[in-house]
Every structure is written in structure tokens, then in C-alpha cells.
Amino acid sequence: MEFNGIREIASALHTKEISVQELHDIYHQRQYSKADELNCLINITPELAKQQIQSSQALIDSNQANILTGIPIVHKDLFCTKDHHTTCGSRMLENFVSPYDATIVDNLNKAGMVTMAKANMDEFAMGSSNENSYFGAVKNPWDVTRVPGGSSGGSAVVVASGLSPIATGSDTGGSIRQPAALCGVTGIKPSYGRASRYGMVAFASSLDQAGVFARSAEDCSIVLSKMCSYDAKDSTSAQVKQEDFSKNLNQSIKGLKVGIVSEWMDSLPEDIRNTTTQAIQKLQDLGAELIEVELPTAHLAVSAYYVIAPAECSSNLSRFDGVRYGYQCENPVDLNDLYVRSRTEGFGDEVKRRIMVGTWALSAGFYDAYYLKAQKIRRLIAQDFSKAFENVDVIAAPVSPETAFEFNAKKDPVSMYQEDIYTIPSSLAGLPCMSIPIGLVNELPVGLQLIGHNLQESIILNVAHQFQQITDFHKQVAEGYYE
């Protein structure tokens, strides 16, 4: 049974064409047969699913269901799920059972979604290839010798391989958009502050945002609407009303002004540039007007990000010390040994590297030159975007400088960091942005990034949806996998 998105599934559930249990079983079977080879799941949650199947079926039976009732979902293992394992892809939290639900999980639970599993990820959300998980690398269904992108690699693959119609992810510097592009699915990161960070294990607090993977912009918009809410438990939560991001999907984009960053386009390899140009051309076909925009400081975004994010993470990860929960080393001889060995053994190499970079950047005498300076560059980049948005409604840009690369292709950390060159600037500015599939290059997916001004999720979703009305790229599935 193949479904064409949430609306179709919901319709089948509500007309009793299929029960929640039956629907669940379809995805469960798919997971059973494919999850291991792709290594995209860490833990499955059958007991939780069972409860939720029962309660959502009851709601459907009593005509109290909404569009998300009974729809399966997989959560990135960065989100706390009460009484279930939340590992963050790390040995440090391999056996950690969260005592509470993240707010976004709670929101989607309340909307009636059925949690099937926790997705694999780069450890503590640090990485661009999902090679940094303690539980092993995730494989790209388009070519299992290649990476799916990261850090939400597992979530992207889950949707790309049809193991769940929806998955949550997190995006700090591109961790939703880049894997979405590399796996040929749609992924969105809302404006900073839209989705509550309560219960989302912190990597870089001023950058982290929860988001959604789905097969279409429409599906993303439905889930994102329920996921995002003002949360008093998160001081950085935006005090804005909950919004229906799907409200403008069907609006025509005729006359919409789309910004193009030539510097970025010019820096792409030819084949990706061509594909990207063609996709942008389609926006023009839909009536959008293309306008050149400049982001003069964006070339410093990666450098600034690799001060800010490691600095914040070095502090956020200090709580992982083996004392109150998580991994503890064997037979510590004294307190310092307990700390040092638990952390050294519990964390993977990339996490330790970023902690070191962050510790260095904040160390005595360096604060002004690095952290403060990076925050100033951040301000300039945000100003660049604001200026651009005076002339355009949306910016269309590349997501990744390349298609899915092979495992171990990027041994040098800096080369890995450069993968996020197009995604980091909008992260620093806290803007809503998404990636939509725009075709294949050498049989590997390519994505187009749509960046909106602050709180303009419905505009970028509108553009994405209109694009997806006249194209089929978002429906393409890797051979041997499910829609």
C-alpha cells in the first residue's frame, strides 16, 4: 500500500480503509526489513507505539481525530522521550532513559502521532555525514557506500527509505537541510525560537532548532504547525502565536521576489550548478521574479560558527561527567579520574574535538578575540540577510557543495566543516529555511535551499509546495525502497 502523503493516510484512516494498527504494521515491516542495513534506527519503541495506536484509534473511532492522529513518526534520538532511551548517538547516553518528554515530542504525542523509533544521528548532533555515531554510520539508500549527510542522517534516511512518513530532526548549522538534500527528501528548520528546545539535548543553544523531514512540503507544514509552540519552560522560546504553516501553500507565487546569491551559485561544481539553476528556473516559470542579492559577510560564516557552536557545546556537554547518569568509567581511582575517563571513553572523537575547540576559544584572553568577535560577525551576517529581505521575499540557494560523498572521504575535519558553507549563514541569523529535492546528479539527490525572513515559514513552504506541484523530484525513491 503506497500513500501520497499525510492527507492520503489520514483519509484512509478516517474512512476506516485501514486501521492505525494496520498502518503501523506496514511501517514496522519496512523497518524490520531495511532499518538494519541502513543502520538508521537506534531504538524502536513498540510499547509506546502500542499505547499510542490504541489511543489514536479510539479518537478516530469517536470522530475526534485530527489530521495527524495515528500517523507514524520517528524522532531523532536527540529528543527526550519519557521512559524511553535517548542516546544522542553516544556511548555517553547509551543507557540513558529520559524521565520526561521534550516539548516537541509532547506536542506531537498530543496531536495523536505514533512514535515508532528513535533515529540514529551524529553524536550529540555534531557532524555532516552521520559517520560519528557510536552506533555506527548510517547509509544513504541511494548508494549504501555513501553518507546520508548529518547530523540528522538517520531521520533523513528513515523518510527517504519509506520507513516512516515523518521524522523529526534538529538543525544547528545545516543538520536537517544537508541530509535532506543528500537523501532526496524535504526537510525544514523553522525560525530560531519557534520550536521549543526544552527536552532537546543541547549542542549549541543559540543555534539549535528542531525540525521535520517528510516527503513533501505540505507534510512538513502540517507536522511543523503542531510541533511549534511557545513554551514557557524555554526562555529562548519565541513569544509568538502558534501558526498554521499550511495556510498559504496553495497561493500562487506569481510576482514573488526570489533572491539569488551569485557568489554561492558560482562556487558550485558545474553539474550541481546546472541542476540548481534549472530548479530556480522553474520558480521563474511559476511567475517568481529573480533578483540578485548579496551577502557580503557570509563567507566568514563557517569560521564564526566554528567558534560559537563549539564554545557553547563545550559548556553544554560539561554535565556529562559520569556522576548522576550516563556512562561512568570502571573503578575510578579519584574524582578527577572519574571525570576524565568517563568523558574520554564516553565521547567520540568529533565531540571531543569540538569540546577542545570550544574550550580553547573561551579560554583566558581569547574571549574577545574569538567568541565576541564571532558574535559580531553573526550580527553582520544577520544584517546582510535583513538587507536582502528588503528587496526579496525568499532566497533560493544551494544546500550542499556536493552530492552524497563516500564514507571516510573527509578525514580532515575542516573539509567536513566546509560542507555546511551554504547552510550555516541562515543558521547564524536564526532564519527559517528548508531543503527540497530538485533532481539527481550522477544518480544522487540534490537539494534546493529556500530561506525566509524571520517567522516567514509559510512563505518558504508556499514556494516549496508550488514547486512540488509542477515537479516530481520529491517523489523519487531510491531503488529497492519504499515511497
Binding site: 543559540s206 566554528y306 579519584d334 572519574l338 574520554t344 569540546i355 577542545m356 574550550t359 560577525i377
Partner: protein, 95 residues
Amino acid sequence: MLINRKEVEQIAVLAKLRVSESKIDAITSSLDSVVDMINHINEIETDNVKPMANPMDAVQRLRADEVNEISHKEQLLAMASHADDDYFLVPTVVE
């Protein structure tokens, strides 16, 4: 070299991480390349720019002084590798 081995050792101490003898040179080298990349931030002048700590430039919400929490004692102690009925346990801390 923008960052040397000794500095790396000092950072590891602050971060409560151990870098083994066999790995320290490789790690110093990779950190050095990261610092090199980071140093690009010095390319432009930012004297009159206000740092952006938070993309929303919003202000702190205030919470009423009320008690809503209950004891989580058993649950919390059960999560620890070493705890008894009342305390988290760590190797002795001497002051």
C-alpha cells in the same frame, strides 16, 4: 603552528579529557587546522558592531516565584552509576 601541544594538553585538563600520548600530535595538528580556519574571522573589522548573542534579540521572560516541583529523589538516584538511598556518590572530595 597556531596551537601547540602544550596548549592542547592544558585545554584537555580544563575540559576533563585525556589525550593519549599516541594521539596528541594528530589531535594538535587537526586542532591547528581548525584554528587556522577560524582565524578568518579576523579578516574584517568589527569595532562598532554589537555582538549578536541570540538571533531574536529578545529579552528574558520572568517567572512567578511559585513551587511546582515535587521530589524526584528515587528516580534521580536510580539513574546514577553510584548512589545510595540518599546521595549521589563520588570518590572522596577533600577540601
